[in-house]
């Protein structure tokens, strides 16, 4: 298999990966279709920013954000139907049910656990431990600056957590099961072991006091960008967007069956963090997954980190003591 050198690494030696924007196909079809799939992403982002910037306080609530989030996902599911990126990623009934099960866990069990030991509780504990009144100046900054900083700090933390997961075995175990997905669809971001969903949710976005509207804006920016990590839609994403933001292309490289390619594009929203630290690979991949694309069942996803972790511990402690060679 022909590999491409990107910086110090060889990408695509084990599985096909297309490297370079010039080699990535464009949206095919009539002028209207090409227009829609070129301008959809920036239009949605700016529309959401304008909405949250100007909406009256009575509507600027988390419940509105949750409603918009669900509506946005339903719309994107429709786009998957209209303009799929790959036929092999088409959403089947079984895939939809499996993905929704993980989404359901996130809305119920994981949320319940998070209420006791999650990032919100940790943030409150840290805020109580220090005199954070000194940081109220954060609230006096322009809304969009606050929103950018909240989402950037969160994504920066998530970048290192994610990179840590790919480099340290105890963190890799809960994350590994997410890499057994063999296609990208709207709800695939939720697929994984609940321990991992909990870990990736731990972020440092809210140690400062910020305006509620800024948090809603930050959430909208995150949603309007990072949702495209897992989606089966072909877009003509603008150049500036793919330089600044994460895209389906970047994330498909991250999920590639090629080991070197999978160790790239760790950020969730701002791909420039990967550019800063030399882990960005611009390209795309269709063949995704682990172990040659073996699909992992829900049962195995739930148990794998623990069974593999137990095996690793047993191996480490049952190794026979080194025998000194006879003199």
């Amino acid at each position: 298999m022909e590999a491409v050198r990107v910086g110090k690494r060889l990408i695509g030696a084990q599985a096909p990966v297309t490297v370079g924007w010039e080699n990535i196909p464009r949206v095919e079809g009539g002028p209207l279709k090409r227009f829609v799939f070129t301008w959809f992403q920036p239009t949605m982002l700016f529309a959401l920013i304008l909405f949250w910037y100007y909406v009256p306080n009575s509507i600027a609530k988390t419940s509105t954000a949750v409603g918009i989030g669900i509506g946005f996902k339903v719309l994107l599911l429709g786009l998957e139907w209209v303009n799929p990126r790959h036929r092999s990623w088409r959403l089947t009934w079984k895939e939809l049910v499996t993905d929704l099960f993980y989404v359901g866990l996130g809305y119920t069990l994981v949320r319940l656990v998070n209420g006791y030991i999650g990032s919100g509780v940790m943030t409150k504990a840290v805020q109580h431990a220090f005199d954070w009144d000194k940081f109220t100046w954060f609230m006096g900054m322009p809304l969009l600056v606050q929103a950018f900083l909240i989402s950037f700090i969160f994504d920066f933390g998530q970048y290192w957590m994610h990179r840590g997961m790919h480099n340290w075995y105890p963190l890799w175990l809960p994350h590994s099961v997410h890499h057994y997905i063999t296609q990208l669809n709207i709800n695939k971001g939720a697929v994984g072991n609940p321990v991992e969903i909990f870990l990736i949710g731990l972020g440092v976005g809210g140690f400062f006091d910020f305006l509620p509207r800024a948090a809603l804006l930050a959430g909208a920016i995150g949603m309007a960008v990072s949702t495209y990590q897992h989606i089966n839609v072909r877009f003509n994403t603008p150049r500036w967007w793919r330089f600044v933001f994460n895209t389906t292309e970047h994330h498909s490289v991250h999920h590639s069956q090629d080991f070197e390619a999978s160790r790239s594009n760790y950020s969730g929203t701002y791909i420039f963090i990967d550019r800063m630290f030399g882990t960005c690979v611009d390209g795309e991949a269709e063949l995704l997954g682990m172990e040659g694309g073996r699909r992992m069942s829900i049962r195995e996803q739930m148990t794998y980190p623990f069974t593999e972790g137990w095996k690793a511990i047993k191996d480490r402690f049952s190794r026979p003591a080194e025998v000194m060679p006879a003199e």
């Binding site: 306080n57 600027a60 790959h86 092999s88 099960f101 119920t108 319940l112 109220t136 006096g140 809304l143």
Partner: protein
């Protein structure tokens, strides 16, 4: 209780007459590519084909089924393909509403258990400093609504109530119940159409990821 009283939940049964003049041998030959997929084992004895699938790819056109039996028997007007296919995904989707109802009950129980503690902490919340929220002049100039003054009567309490709400668990329970009905009907129709296309030789080419 015999299993077949309930096994319709996760089994799809059906029959298809073979094309005129098509022998059982020819029919199995045409269906064979469906069972030459990763994670699939198959065995054929006479007019009966048995298969099992493990960790089958999402791109496998019979991915929803984990095993089954296909048999060609003589019908009134000629040979007929009878099939009986088992799907753990269908069983899982059938049971999923129960799981989410259990999550809802757990949420309600935890909410009840937490109530006395929340009431005890209520007095502390009143002491929280009520500072007016600032607005940057740029945002004021651009016309963004001024931030609301924080409410003194414990808005946090409302948030806690929201956190402990079982509504989302009920919504997911209903969603899986609907999805089960859709899947039970849809997958039965899809597999019948798949077999018919293969038997007539008009089946689709596999998607690129599998062909590669």
């Amino acid at each position: 209780m015999k299993a077949h009283w309930i096994d319709w939940i996760w089994h799809v049964r059906g029959s298809l007459p073979l094309a005129p003049g098509q022998s059982g041998e020819e029919a199995f030959g045409r269906l064979d590519p469906l069972f030459r997929q990763g994670g699939t084992t198959r065995s054929r004895i006479g007019d009966t084909l048995t298969f099992t699938k493990k960790d089958q790819a999402a791109q496998d056109s019979m991915s929803v089924f984990d095993g089954g039996v296909l048999q060609i028997r003589d019908g009134v007007v000629g040979p007929v393909l009878h099939y009986r296919l088992a799907s753990r995904a269908l069983l899982f989707c059938f049971l999923a509403p129960l799981l989410f109802l259990a999550f809802a009950q757990l949420t309600v129980a935890l909410g009840r258990w937490e109530k006395p503690a929340a009431q005890a902490a209520g007095a502390h919340k009143q002491q929280k400093k009520l500072v007016e929220l600032p607005q940057n002049p740029i945002d004021k100039m651009l016309g963004s609504p001024a931030p609301e003054k924080p409410k003194p009567d414990g808005k946090d309490g409302e948030d806690d109530k929201k956190k402990a709400s079982p509504t989302s668990a009920y919504v997911f329970a209903a969603m899986f119940a609907v999805l089960y009905v859709v899947g039970r009907v849809l997958e039965g129709r899809l597999v019948r159409s798949l077999f018919r296309k293969e038997l007539l030789g008009t089946g689709d080419q596999p998607p690129m990821a599998l062909a590669g």
